[in-house]
Symmetry: D5
Subunit: 147 residues, 10 copies
Amino acid sequence: MLTKQEAADAVRQAKVKTGVTWAQLAEAVGKPLAWTTAALLGQHPMGKDEAATAAALLELGDDAALAFQLQPTRGALDAAVPVDPTIYRLYEVVQVYGPTIKELIHEQCGDGIMSAINFRLDVRRVPDPAGDRVVITLDGKYLPYQW
Amino acid sequence: MLTKQEAADAVRQAKVKTGVTWAQLAEAVGKPLAWTTAALLGQHPMGKDEAATAAALLELGDDAALAFQLQPTRGALDAAVPVDPTIYRLYEVVQVYGPTIKELIHEQCGDGIMSAINFRLDVRRVPDPAGDRVVITLDGKYLPYQW
Amino acid sequence: MLTKQEAADAVRQAKVKTGVTWAQLAEAVGKPLAWTTAALLGQHPMGKDEAATAAALLELGDDAALAFQLQPTRGALDAAVPVDPTIYRLYEVVQVYGPTIKELIHEQCGDGIMSAINFRLDVRRVPDPAGDRVVITLDGKYLPYQW
Amino acid sequence: MLTKQEAADAVRQAKVKTGVTWAQLAEAVGKPLAWTTAALLGQHPMGKDEAATAAALLELGDDAALAFQLQPTRGALDAAVPVDPTIYRLYEVVQVYGPTIKELIHEQCGDGIMSAINFRLDVRRVPDPAGDRVVITLDGKYLPYQW
Amino acid sequence: MLTKQEAADAVRQAKVKTGVTWAQLAEAVGKPLAWTTAALLGQHPMGKDEAATAAALLELGDDAALAFQLQPTRGALDAAVPVDPTIYRLYEVVQVYGPTIKELIHEQCGDGIMSAINFRLDVRRVPDPAGDRVVITLDGKYLPYQW
Amino acid sequence: MLTKQEAADAVRQAKVKTGVTWAQLAEAVGKPLAWTTAALLGQHPMGKDEAATAAALLELGDDAALAFQLQPTRGALDAAVPVDPTIYRLYEVVQVYGPTIKELIHEQCGDGIMSAINFRLDVRRVPDPAGDRVVITLDGKYLPYQW
Amino acid sequence: MLTKQEAADAVRQAKVKTGVTWAQLAEAVGKPLAWTTAALLGQHPMGKDEAATAAALLELGDDAALAFQLQPTRGALDAAVPVDPTIYRLYEVVQVYGPTIKELIHEQCGDGIMSAINFRLDVRRVPDPAGDRVVITLDGKYLPYQW
Amino acid sequence: MLTKQEAADAVRQAKVKTGVTWAQLAEAVGKPLAWTTAALLGQHPMGKDEAATAAALLELGDDAALAFQLQPTRGALDAAVPVDPTIYRLYEVVQVYGPTIKELIHEQCGDGIMSAINFRLDVRRVPDPAGDRVVITLDGKYLPYQW
Amino acid sequence: MLTKQEAADAVRQAKVKTGVTWAQLAEAVGKPLAWTTAALLGQHPMGKDEAATAAALLELGDDAALAFQLQPTRGALDAAVPVDPTIYRLYEVVQVYGPTIKELIHEQCGDGIMSAINFRLDVRRVPDPAGDRVVITLDGKYLPYQW
Amino acid sequence: MLTKQEAADAVRQAKVKTGVTWAQLAEAVGKPLAWTTAALLGQHPMGKDEAATAAALLELGDDAALAFQLQPTRGALDAAVPVDPTIYRLYEVVQVYGPTIKELIHEQCGDGIMSAINFRLDVRRVPDPAGDRVVITLDGKYLPYQW
């Protein structure tokens, strides 16, 4: 049996071998693009049919399909601070703008947080004459501190 | 003379005393809301007039206005991993979805990053019958690896 | 003006000087015991009247009352792992039983978390012939992963 | 021979394969739910019969039954600060409310601790019209500092 | 008012000025030597009379006597791993012999711990023709894991 | 060939299989109990005959006997701060009482340390009507700073 | 299939076996020296033909050629601070001269950074009568902070 | 008397007040630009005349001039990994390209290092139609391992 | 009263003011050069006369002379890994050659250590036509592991 | 093919099997004792003949001989701070005497370092009636800061 992390590695390798894209996987599975990617990278449990569909498209076996269904222990970085430049830029945003976001949430909503559980994520390339842009949308339910 | 961090603390205190909001400060300064907040929290240098306007509105002195113009040493967290729950949720998003965002940037754009320099940020409360949502938009120029 | 942390230190000192208890403070403020304690230790913002009541009872000044109303940057430990034995035992519970709690939440509720925001806490001494017990109740809303 | 950690992984996999629940395992073993879960995750040594019962129900072999009986080296997190969101919320409670709990133990009991050894744990889903709640009870003997 | 740590520093300085020894302080206070030393270094709260006696002997003021009575936040090392050689040797013993002590506690007593709360400590110089020895006795109640 | 750590793991497993105790191993080897335990856990090199005796009693092979004779790289904890509760209590003693022990060594002996090399360790269960106690004796040569 | 890191190790070994140099590899691949070295050490994805050329020259198989084409998770140090002396000297330069470089970028260009993405690197040995020198050129596009 | 760090802070403030540039300071002192900047930021000791010249130009007092002459304890980052984006990019270069630079030094020079002591640094803005570039030159003596 | 660390800082400043050297201080005090330097930097307690002599030569007051006599809490680095290049080279020697030194001590002396307590240190400049050398001698008593 | 670390482990094992000493290996190889030990522990690359001689004496195969010739990534400790007592004492010397050594290098030589590259090491047992001593000599070229 594969662990969820081993299954995630198998997915990355299978994508290179088969040429299947995340977008094709998401369409086949019938779920949003970012959710499907996160699930196949081991961060969400898939339903049985979703898992079977994804495994078939990636030409992976039953052990991968089973691993896709396991409850994950979430957390995908090897270290507290990521070193891959593409991921580090997100951490840099938290370092530079984290208190700004906190202030604006408190000013607009009160004392509370943006949920990272009741949450959805979108990543899009947006054409721009001065150079295309990557637009990442973090969309979570506002949760006020309630006693 | 105040350091940028001491000036940021003075801003937080002055907001409580005067009741001025980030939105009012941004409007007075004539810059986007998140930029103005970040600048007054010490993460961006302000122009001379912007600094004077903000200091006046907050009833702060010349030393604060001067500090607002200083070149910052950026980075606003006390530790590598934030412990304030409102800010931690952003770090959690990086931990759980960082590799997902990386995969989608590479699939949609190629080998590169979302810039955190040529970058803008927006934080909005979005009404929702199932509970209002916080929507954070990270919008950065795509930078391909180029030799 | 006092920071929230300085105000918390002043509270601890004033309690020794005046002999006022957390229970008396909670009753005067009209809020639950643990909430009042946490608020005066700098982890929750108080309302204006609550702050004035608490400051008066503790014979503290207006600057303390003002600090009690400030929005906190939460997180009360000096280090990632606490060293005070009374607090460390809570960390030990997380180390030893954290995955157990995770498994039982998932079995009883599905894929989600116990909220630490929509959350209340209770600490009680429970008489027991074999030695009295401390019973700590963590009571948070179940939040399922929702996309 | 399996280590306790490898046996815990085998338990998680066997639960998925066989569909056996923690509640069924606890009933078969005749021990409390949280204790049984913790023991099978490698945090408590089981008695010989308990181990055999659990292994049989999970369709695991003698090496797993033997591992269940080994004296554990306790501690179940991979890092000092957990990153899985379900477990992190417990750590967040320690960060935000740890000093509050310490103050209340001292006010109600004197200078001492809640034992994490003479200790029992309960996790329950509690129906609530505003959304069901997870209630975690930490129940440990009060131990005063005694010289 | 002095913090417990500032009072501990004042004690160290007053000992040099007055020439009073820990043994004399313990005798005057009427408590064991190691307890008295630990209390004056800020790790135990003293009773009112004990505090007054110690402060008088050390020619310290009322603020020190008050600080001696405060409830401590325990933990006396500046870093997780001590660097002072005299203290480091104790950490080295834990590094080299920790698992040995654990095995012997389990073999002699069962699954449990030596309490560090119901605990007493002794430090003695023992004459020895091959060079005098330091003998440190850690004496804590055995606490079995009990559910 | 086994590493010293693998041999230590094999010893733990063989003890469970054969039911041999640390006390029996120490008696057979003819060395003190704690030394024998530490040596078989990989912290001391054994002599050839001692190694052969221990391996035979534990029904382990020549590779284990050879590993017992290797010069160790000492240090038995996986992390700087131990998380197993039985071992953590020793670390807690260093955190809470380390400076106390340092002060008492300096008062009784002068500027120096308790050696952890010219050192012996004892762990005993001591009956006590109020609950049996674990008494750990650290007995090391006093070494004064000498230039 | 090989991971990128395993492929990098295979490259280092194959270079010793075959005697092929980085310079020869770069010439065969038709890319700059430093880029080719970084790519074969797992920090850049290669094109299909480049990968095949490099694998053939190093007498490595198809799995290595495939690994050379994979999208990397960048970051090549085992720890946050490198310990190899040749690499550490670069970290020392950042420690000692980092703020100097920051000040000079800001003085000459304004508020912004040197890109490490739109970036090229050169390493050359420069003859010098007082002892040859290593000259490393970091050449990145200036990116101003733009909102 | 000012510490070197306090003097560096005074320099940064004085530059804003007086409008003097690093280039003007370097010219007045008669030393290279990067050396002068590093020295005034506390990383190199200045000669007496250099210190006096710089202090006069910055309208700072004798205590600053004295501090400029002190032997530094080098190292200018607050943490092991820098968080300011302008400085982090240099760390990122070490993370991504460190092993590449090591390989090329070894291929071109043999087993040794680029000295960071017998070393000079240059930072220049280089016009480029595709966007100006920052070019940083690290130029250190090659030091072979010699026994 | 000054702490030992504040006294060490005062010594460094006084040396610059008075021009007194470590060699002159050692001669006046009548102790070895390295011991005197370490003592005045806060790592050894001085005798009363030694302290008075040193304070007088450095034109420091009675509080410095008193601080020189205090029992130190040893350990002089700000972080676990030093960043000052002159001190880092010593750490690099431990990183690169530590196991070598361990092997040679064990081969020449048996299972034991070089004492850092019964220890003396010497630092000398040794003329050499190929460039003068720094020779550091670590000279400690061999201590065998003895039970 | 063996990595350098695996080859170092094989050397340690082969020394026990064959009884060959580091001194015999150094003599056979024709290099200094400490250099030979460090090289076989993976910290220096050996020449082809040296590697063959050492492998033959240790009865190791061609893969070990090849590994001895590889360029090392230096650094031999598993953690930033060593825990093995024999190696820790060297780290303790850096902690306690590092700034002393730095001061004496600067007083005797000026602003610079002792090279750890143009460097040689010696470890000797020196007979002494009060107990034999271990004398470790660190002998490196003085390198002045030069721009």
